[in-house]
């Protein structure tokens, strides 16, 4: 057992081995091959949730497309909350990053002449989404992982769960982590730490996210004193399968799929998203942005125009007119998932769908280098909020985001290492305290009446109730109260599993603490934002209010553990706030 002494020391430690983490690791290895880099991840890298991304990755490459148009689509998609300097840089660097993935073997779908093929995507005015059929994230992740194996100086701590960042005087010096296979607790020193742990869909009951998406990196940063940014913006993807929440990619609509209500009517035409046409029209109807499509669903429910299912109201995704050949070429995974999990063949049948929590626009506050306010601490990917996504992320911007900002954070961390300082003695004390906390408060405690699974269920229900597609002050306030009560009950959770080896109950307890902290931030930030913008729609403040709220909200952890919210200006470069126009 660790007494706070360092079991290992590295120049840079990546927490999380998904797309952002692996891209950062390779960037560091290429920037300075002498640096000692390690990746610690609670799952094997190829299990990371990047693997589930389906539709594609946006990057300007096609003839007739321009950088400025991708920038504008992203800004208007973000409801003007994205930082325009970050978006400009992101859009300019995305094609190069996607080409780099091509050189590393990613099997991008191609045109007949061998060049990269692109497809349409929601909220994008041009075809610019690179894709590998409908398993884009899977192929990107495996290409990155397999490429990372070239670098034999890269250390990996597979199945290591980080419980604490060691920070002194606003400077990071390492982490404490549980080695899952043995249950041993280790202190790992690192001059720089990059958080790449993905999102936190598991704050909600119904999500496309994998079991592992518990906001670990966000919670680690938050507890270490770094602010989270724009946490109220939770993306509901309009098309999830009703029982499982499994994602049916937006590419299904990009290839020409229609959304139908119970009368077989393409209802999006009633929500200022354009008029139905047989062929898809960019930035129109089914190719509108996700926030608007999910909101339209709620109105259809209110009008009684959705169908009932055992899992709540649904609408239908109609792919039948696309034909078997197109579906098998461009959307084979959609067909596989529908056949397996709904026993429905989309070639011949309608696919039942409903909106589902998919992505966090918010995350650890970083600058355009991925740097957080804590020296040496960086974040990239869904964990981070730069922000390019603002109030609503466009589909196919998250995969290039994790590449662009993963690489940038890696390079920035590699530079930082040269100026890093040695860890002061207090760091060992912090580490020893954390080891004691884990030993005493979790593993050593008699299991009380409270169960992880029960508190988790109640948290998720409270979040769905209070922070859904539409929210309001009273609903969020009620949610805050419930979470406060759950935080108290969390103190009485013991781990019934006394075996140290692969103790998944311990992991679940640690994850639940993380999600509870994140849930509180989502609600506190949401209460402060008294307007409706993008994915944050308040029935008590139904209009966008640029006068008061064209601003980011930063959430800090207060002394008593409750969140404090501050403001940070949005960076506007060339695109003054305007109306979001789709379909007209």
């Amino acid at each position: 057992m660790s007494d706070g002494d360092f079991a290992a020391a590295h120049d840079v430690l990546l927490v999380g081995g998904g797309g952002a983490g692996l891209r950062a690791a390779i960037a560091i290895a290429e920037t300075n091959p002498r640096l000692d880099v390690a990746v610690i991840s609670k799952v094997y890298p190829m299990r990371s949730h990047t693997v589930s991304a389906e539709g594609g990755a946006a990057g300007v490459i096609a003839e007739g497309d321009t950088i400025d148009e991708h920038i504008y689509d992203t800004i208007s998609g973000s409801d003007w909350l994205g930082d325009q300097d970050a978006i400009e840089l992101f859009v300019e660097q995305a094609p190069r990053e996607l080409l780099q993935l091509e050189h590393w073997g990613c099997p991008w779908s191609r045109q007949p002449d061998g060049r990269i093929a692109v497809r349409a995507f929601g909220g994008m005015k041009k075809m610019r989404t690179w894709f590998a059929a409908d398993k884009t994230g899977f192929h990107m992740l495996h290409a990155l992982f397999q490429t990372s194996l070239k670098y034999d100086r890269l250390t990996r701590y597979d199945e290591g769960f980080v419980t604490k960042l060691l920070v002194d005087d606003d400077r990071v010096h390492g982490v404490v982590a549980v080695e899952l296979v043995t249950g041993k607790i280790h202190t790992i020193a690192a001059k720089s730490v990059i958080l790449c742990t993905g999102g936190c869909g598991k704050v909600f009951p119904f999500t496309t996210n994998a079991n592992i998406n518990t906001g670990d990196g966000m919670a680690l940063a938050y507890r270490a004193g770094a602010p989270l940014k724009d946490m109220e913006f939770v993306q509901y993807h309009p098309t999830g399968l009703p029982f499982t929440g499994i994602l049916i990619t937006e590419a299904a609509r990009a290839e020409g799929g229609w959304l139908l209500n119970k009368d077989g009517y393409r209802y999006l035409q009633d929500y200022d998203l354009g008029q139905p046409t047989p062929k898809p029209v960019l930035r129109s109807m089914e190719l509108g942005p996700r926030d608007r499509l999910s909101q339209a669903f709620v109105h259809e429910v209110e009008k009684g125009r959705t169908s009932d299912s055992p899992y709540g109201p649904i609408v239908h995704l109609d792919l039948r007119h696309l034909g078997e050949k197109l579906i098998d070429t461009k959307l084979p995974f959609v067909r596989e998932l529908c056949l397996k999990y709904e026993r429905i063949d989309p070639v011949h049948e309608l696919v039942p769908v409903r909106p589902v929590v998919h992505y966090m626009m918010g995350g650890v506050h970083t600058d355009i280098h991925g740097a957080t306010p804590i020296k040496g601490l960086y974040a990239a990917g869904e964990t981070a909020c730069v922000s390019i996504n603002g109030a609503n992320r466009l589909g196919s911007n998250s995969l290039p985001e994790l590449l662009v900002f993963g690489a940038r954070a890696g390079r920035a961390a590699a530079e930082y290492v040269a100026t890093a300082r040695d860890a002061p003695p207090s760091i060992r004390r912090q580490a020893a305290d954390e080891v004691r906390r884990l030993e005493r408060d979790l593993l050593g405690k008699e299991p009380g009446e409270e169960r992880v699974a029960a508190i988790r269920d109640e948290m998720q229900a409270a979040m769905e109730e209070s922070a859904g597609i539409y929210r309001n002050g009273p609903s969020m306030t009620k949610g805050v109260d419930t979470l406060a009560e759950l935080q108290q009950r969390m103190d009485n959770v013991g781990v019934a599993d006394t075996n140290r080896s692969f103790n998944t109950e311990l992991v679940a307890a640690l994850e639940l603490r993380n999600t509870l902290d994140i849930a509180q931030c989502i609600l506190q930030s949401g209460l402060q934002r008294q307007e409706s913008r993008g994915a944050h729609q308040r029935t008590d403040f139904p209009k966008r209010d640029d006068e008061r709220f064209l601003t980011h909200l930063l959430t800090y952890r207060g002394r008593d553990g409750t969140p404090l919210v501050e403001r940070l200006p949005v960076t506007i470069t060339r695109w003054p706030p305007g109306e979001r126009v789709y379909g007209r």
Binding site: M46, Q100, T147, D497, N499
Partner: protein, 250 residues
């Protein structure tokens, strides 16, 4: 929630290191719901009756490769194995065969993780093209040539099914060989020679007696057996086969 139609028994293999001498069976009863998979049933147990049951899972949509277990003796992704297909039960759930067991249903796959880099599963080129020059051209037909082998999710089902790996853990094994072939067949790659050097040595491809179990159990239709067969042909063309064969039993 949809109605369940009665219940079904789970016979789950438990093993706690330092406590149990070996694996032992534990019985659970779970609702038999038509939309539930074996993974849903295990989570039902873990979230209620028995939080100490340990197993890996993540995406629950057949793409992350975490939740492979033996279900009624067959290697399966438990997120794709529906309870109804095993009615009336009981359903036997065990860790994947041929691997050391860490705990309960969790296997130790470090052997694969160490073998994978040996087959150099990355693009190898004599000369790298600059990113500024754009993409390597690759026609849809060239993509199709290796696409199938690029679908491997590293779920380890093929290793659990492979009788050779069971007898000879030094065998590189189906998934790693399929991934080597994936890069060999990629028009952008020039590393086939290097990989062949690795695979014709020692326990590379020769261990395989072409049982084909790997291909049969693969949830992603990768056909590792086909990849192994192709390697044997490639190696035979090298006409050094007899010289390099490590054993005389074939």
């Amino acid at each position: 929630m949809a109605d369940s139609t009665g219940s079904i028994g789970l016979r789950v293999s438990r093993y706690r290191p330092g406590v149990d001498d070996g694996p032992q069976w534990q019985e659970y009863d779970v609702p038999l719901r038509k939309e539930w998979t074996v993974l849903d049933a295990l989570n039902h147990v873990k979230n209620g009756e028995d939080p100490t049951l340990s197993f890996r899972w993540s995406c629950r949509m057949g793409i992350c490769g975490s939740c492979g277990m033996n279900v009624d003796g067959e290697p399966r992704l438990t997120c794709g194995a529906f309870l109804g297909d095993y009615a009336p039960g009981p359903i036997r759930v065990e860790p994947l065969s041929n691997f050391p067991v860490i705990r309960d249903l969790v296997i130790d796959m470090t052997d694969f993780m160490e073998k994978l880099p040996r087959v150099k599963p990355w693009i190898i080129r004599d000369e790298e093209m600059s990113i500024d020059e754009g993409e390597y051209l690759q026609t849809p037909e060239e993509l199709d040539a290796y696409k199938q082998f690029s679908m491997c999710i590293n779920c380890m089902l093929c290793y659990a099914a492979c009788p050779i790996y069971g007898l000879d853990p030094d065998f590189v094994g189906p998934a790693a060989i399929a991934l080597a072939e994936r890069y060999d067949l990629d028009s952008r790659d020039q590393g086939a020679r290097e990989r062949l050097d690795v695979l014709i040595e020692h326990e590379g491809v020769w261990g395989c007696t072409f049982v084909g179990e790997c291909t049969r159990v693969c949830p992603k239709h990768v056909d590792p057996a086909g990849a192994i067969q192709r390697y044997k042909l490639k190696a035979a063309k090298e006409s050094v086969m007899a010289f390099l064969l490590p054993r005389g039993s074939r």
